[in-house]
């Protein structure tokens, strides 16, 4: 059992598809989870169908969706760090690392979950993962938390191999689907969930396994 899990991801809804089941599973067994979300996803392109959000109202709407998603998963400690969406790779690295470092210092997590730098498609994902591993790599080896990464770029397995952790989260699909649906402005997008009604079996096949790569520090 983990002592404390710190999740560091850049956008509201990044927690839904890849890790919501894993987090619900750990919370169910009593492990506290802190979710640090770097931005409010204010540059997102999905505005709802028909559009009920605007560029101006999107951050506030996505903040409420993020809070609802955390309630669905069972996360009680949500930290919104206030960085600007799309700009993580250009942000002052010292400031970014100091924010992540302060959370690690405060929480002393046994496990940190983030994106695999270089294999996570969106520049914010890669920059977020890079900041996490950079910050943890600075700690003496004995003080480093384990880091589990999400990866989904094209051909990522050619570079990083098969995931070494596969969690069966079928018992927590209710939490996971509720987390996805909490992001009401986002989840209608066809490539995410679409408007299709899934059978239980299809849901289990599509969403029932979550995969992670343990980051190997040099």
């Amino acid at each position: 059992m983990e002592r404390h899990i710190l999740v560091v991801l850049p956008h509201p809804d990044d927690e839904s598809f890849g890790i919501a089941g894993t987090l619900a599973m750990h919370l169910n067994s009593g492990t506290p989870v802190t979710y640090a979300c770097l931005t409010l996803g204010e540059m997102g392109r999905n505005m709802g169908i028909p559009p009920f959000a605007t560029r101006v109202t999107l951050p506030q709407i996505r903040k409420q969706e993020l809070e609802a998603s955390c309630r669905a998963i069972g996360i009680k400690d949500l930290r919104m760090l206030g960085f600007h969406d799309k700009m993580i790779e250009f942000e002052d690295q010292g400031l970014l690392d100091a924010n992540i470092g302060a959370l690690i210092e405060e929480l002393n997590p046994s496990l940190v979950i983030t994106f695999y730098p270089g294999y996570s498609v969106h520049p914010d994902h890669d920059a977020c993962g890079a900041a996490v591993v950079r910050t943890i790599a600075r700690l003496p080896e004995a003080k480093r938390s384990k880091v589990h990464c999400l990866a989904f770029s094209r051909d990522h397995e050619r570079a990083v191999g098969r995931p070494d952790i596969e969690n069966d989260v079928r018992d927590f699909l209710q939490h996971k689907m509720a987390s996805i649906q909490a992001h009401r402005s986002q989840f209608q997008a066809a490539e995410l969930l679409g408007r299709k009604q899934y059978t239980d079996k299809e849901l289990q096949e599509r969403f029932g396994t979550e995969r992670f790569w343990t980051y190997r520090f040099q």
Binding site: M43, G44, R45, N46, M47, G48, I49, P50, P51, F52, T54, R55, V56, K86, V121, H122, P123, D124, S153, R154, Q188, A189, A190, E191
Partner: protein, 114 residues
């Protein structure tokens, strides 16, 4: 947001001319464009809270719409606009959404920073 009514937009453009305004201007294919379809070229650009001033401006086209604003030393142009926020009385909030409802272009003007 509502579908654009050109007459309403034109009167809003006229009300905002000849004064310093903060602009948010953006166009984006989305960060996932090439991940979802390798033939796509991902591109995006935005500028937020730059200060501009225009002497006249207008909306044209039959939808999606184009807007051109004549500034002191140049132009501001945006094409592909489909929606606006009718409830905004002081600011002009315009966007273009593609067939999937995703934002592809945005033009916003305000007396206060966004």
């Amino acid at each position: 947001m509502q579908h654009i009514h050109p007459e309403d937009i034109q009167s809003r453009i006229d009300r905002l001319k000849d004064q310093d305004l903060y602009i948010h201007l953006e166009m984006t294919t989305g960060a996932y464009a090439a991940h979802l379809d390798s033939s796509k070229h991902p591109a995006a650009t935005f500028i937020t809270n730059a200060v501009i001033r225009y002497s006249h401006g207008s909306i044209s086209g039959n939808g999606p719409y184009r807007i051109g604003l004549k500034a002191e030393a140049g132009w501001i142009y945006s094409e592909g606009l489909t929606h606006y926020e009718e409830s905004e009385s002081e600011r002009l909030i315009l966007a273009g959404h593609d067939s999937q409802g995703k934002l592809i272009v945005a033009l916003q003007l305000s007396k206060e920073p966004f």
